[in-house]
């Protein structure tokens, strides 16, 4: 997402409260209710478009288990590195290992396919082997040493293999869900229409229970304005995210064309 331009919550409230006729926050809801809906809108946009990415760095603990940070989802990248957070040195990728589980507090683990030779005699799930470039099997190295999995507990833990502990830090890049609840949202300018329309739709939806004759037609209009498949602001917002990063696409096209046509 190549934009560093945001609109303030007050800017959005100025338009929203005028549209719904609640500039004094007396006819509808408290000011905080509107800010909460703005945060909801950003959260939904994050889940729909993956527009927000967050980077988190941790010192690797001895038990190789790191609680997932709040307000994030969808781990995108994970690296191990030495030296300092502000200046990473030697770096390796960490890969996902299916069914890897180092619960509860040690470096040992269970998995259907092991890399330590402990299920040697299993006819269905033999120890993982690595075919070397020179041909033949390299039985001394059974698969990547640096891998992770995420626990299925309600309290999500990123579980790292014990070899990861040979590095000092781990960097994980997630998709973010917006700011923490209670913090002031910052809204990218290209989402302004979608967020405004989302809050208005939520307002009229809530007000239906107070006076359905007045608010149902208003809600229907706002619902269309938000969700119309061609002109709705929500779909426009999704398209905008997908159409961004033109330089990356240009580069990608150049890489691919270089591979096959030169």
């Amino acid at each position: 997402m190549t934009s560093n331009d945001f609109v303030s919550v007050d800017h959005l409230l100025g338009e929203i409260t005028s549209t719904v006729n609640d500039v004094e926050f007396k006819r509808g809801f408290a000011k905080g209710w509107y800010i909460s809906r703005i945060q909801d809108a950003l959260q939904e946009l994050s889940l729909d478009t993956f527009w927000l990415q967050e980077k988190h760095d941790f010192v690797i603990p001895t038990n190789c288990r790191i609680p997932m940070p709040k307000n994030v989802f969808n781990l995108r990248e994970i690296y191990l590195y030495n030296d300092e957070i502000c200046n990473p040195g030697k770096t390796v990728n960490v890969y996902w290992k299916r069914l890897f589980d180092n619960s509860y507090d040690g470096q040992g683990y269970t998995a259907k396919v092991k890399d330590d030779g402990s299920n040697n005699n299993d006819p269905f799930q033999p120890n993982q082997s690595f075919r070397s470039r020179g041909g033949g099997f390299n039985n001394s190295f059974r698969g990547p040493k640096y891998y992770y999995n995420i626990s299925d507990d309600s309290n999500k833990i990123v579980m790292l293999s014990r070899e990861c502990a040979s590095y000092k830090h781990v960097r994980m890049i997630f998709n973010g869900m917006g700011v923490s609840n209670g913090d002031m949202p910052t809204v990218p300018r290209f989402f302004e229409r979608a967020v405004v329309d989302y809050v208005e739709e939520r307002f009229y939806n809530a007000m239906k229970s107070r006076d359905i004759r007045t608010y149902r037609p208003l809600w229907t209009d706002s619902f269309s304005k938000l969700n119309d498949l061609t002109s709705g602001s929500w779909n426009k917002a999704r398209k905008r995210v997908k159409e961004m990063d033109s330089a990356e696409k240009e580069s990608m096209e150049e890489y691919i064309s270089s591979m096959y046509h030169k």
């Binding site: 007396k26 408290a30 905080g32 209710w33 909460s36 209670g182």
Partner: protein
């Protein structure tokens, strides 16, 4: 239009219609205030202007026996929907002059007492120093008659005073100067006079049977109305005269 002008005119009209009735100047003045209050609230709903708004730049914040912060309303206010009788309550911070006046900064938002708990369910609506609220108690607190606005969200700081603006009502019992202007737009004076005359006429038409004269027995008074019968011209006399 001054009180003196309007009340004198009304008194003259009453005396013309009910010449033996004793309408005192003060009584009509009281009716004028009562009716003016209703017209002000009614007109407020139509015009939504600030003609009836009064501002008080420094109202002291007090603390009750339960540690709750409140202010005593300096005037009686209109009881409009959604606490619209209180236009704003804001901090009185003299140094806060960066963007417009203080009342354009942090507002105390209105909330009904029964809905206060709901505010604490959402991080964004939770009362705080930057997101304060008020609710009104207009009857009694622990047996004492009050006309208060309680303040929520400022429990952790000391607030000396606040600025407020309210839609004020008139006190029907107090008119300091008869030459003051009646707090109504001139176009409503005619409505005011009509309403006061209606009020007076209604009182004069009160059935005599409903008046307890303190006497037991005697003949039943056949007069239907206390004053009309003696004041209105006799129709038969009129006909014979014509």
């Amino acid at each position: 239009m001054t009180y003196r002008y309007v009340v004198y005119d009304l008194q003259k009209n009453f005396n013309a219609s009910f010449d033996d009735a004793n309408f005192t100047f003060n009584q009509i003045l009281y009716w004028v205030q009562v009716v003016a209050n209703r017209l002000r609230a009614q007109e407020q709903g139509f015009s939504d202007s600030d003609l009836y708004t009064s501002t008080f730049s420094s109202v002291p914040v007090l603390t009750d026996s339960n540690g709750m912060s409140y202010i005593d309303l300096p005037v009686q206010i209109m009881d409009l929907p959604n606490n619209a009788g209180v236009v704003f309550v804001t901090y009185n911070v003299e140094s806060c002059k960066c963007e417009g006046p203080t009342f354009a900064q942090v507002w105390f938002q209105s909330v009904n007492l029964g809905a206060v708990q709901h505010l604490y369910l959402d991080e964004y609506t939770k009362p705080s120093v930057t997101n304060p609220y008020f609710y009104r108690i207009g009857s009694h607190v622990d047996g004492a008659a009050v006309n208060r606005l309680y303040l929520l969200g400022i429990e952790c700081i000391k607030v000396e005073d606040v600025s407020i603006a309210v839609k004020s009502s008139l006190d029907p019992t107090t008119v300091c100067n008869l030459d003051d202007q009646i707090s109504l737009p001139d176009e409503l004076i005619q409505e005011l006079m009509m309403q006061v005359l209606q009020l007076g006429r209604f009182i004069m038409l009160m059935p005599n049977e409903s008046v307890n004269d303190g006497q037991d027995g005697g003949e039943l008074d056949t007069q239907i109305y206390a004053n009309r019968a003696v004041n209105l011209p006799d129709a038969s006399t009129q006909e014979s005269t014509q």
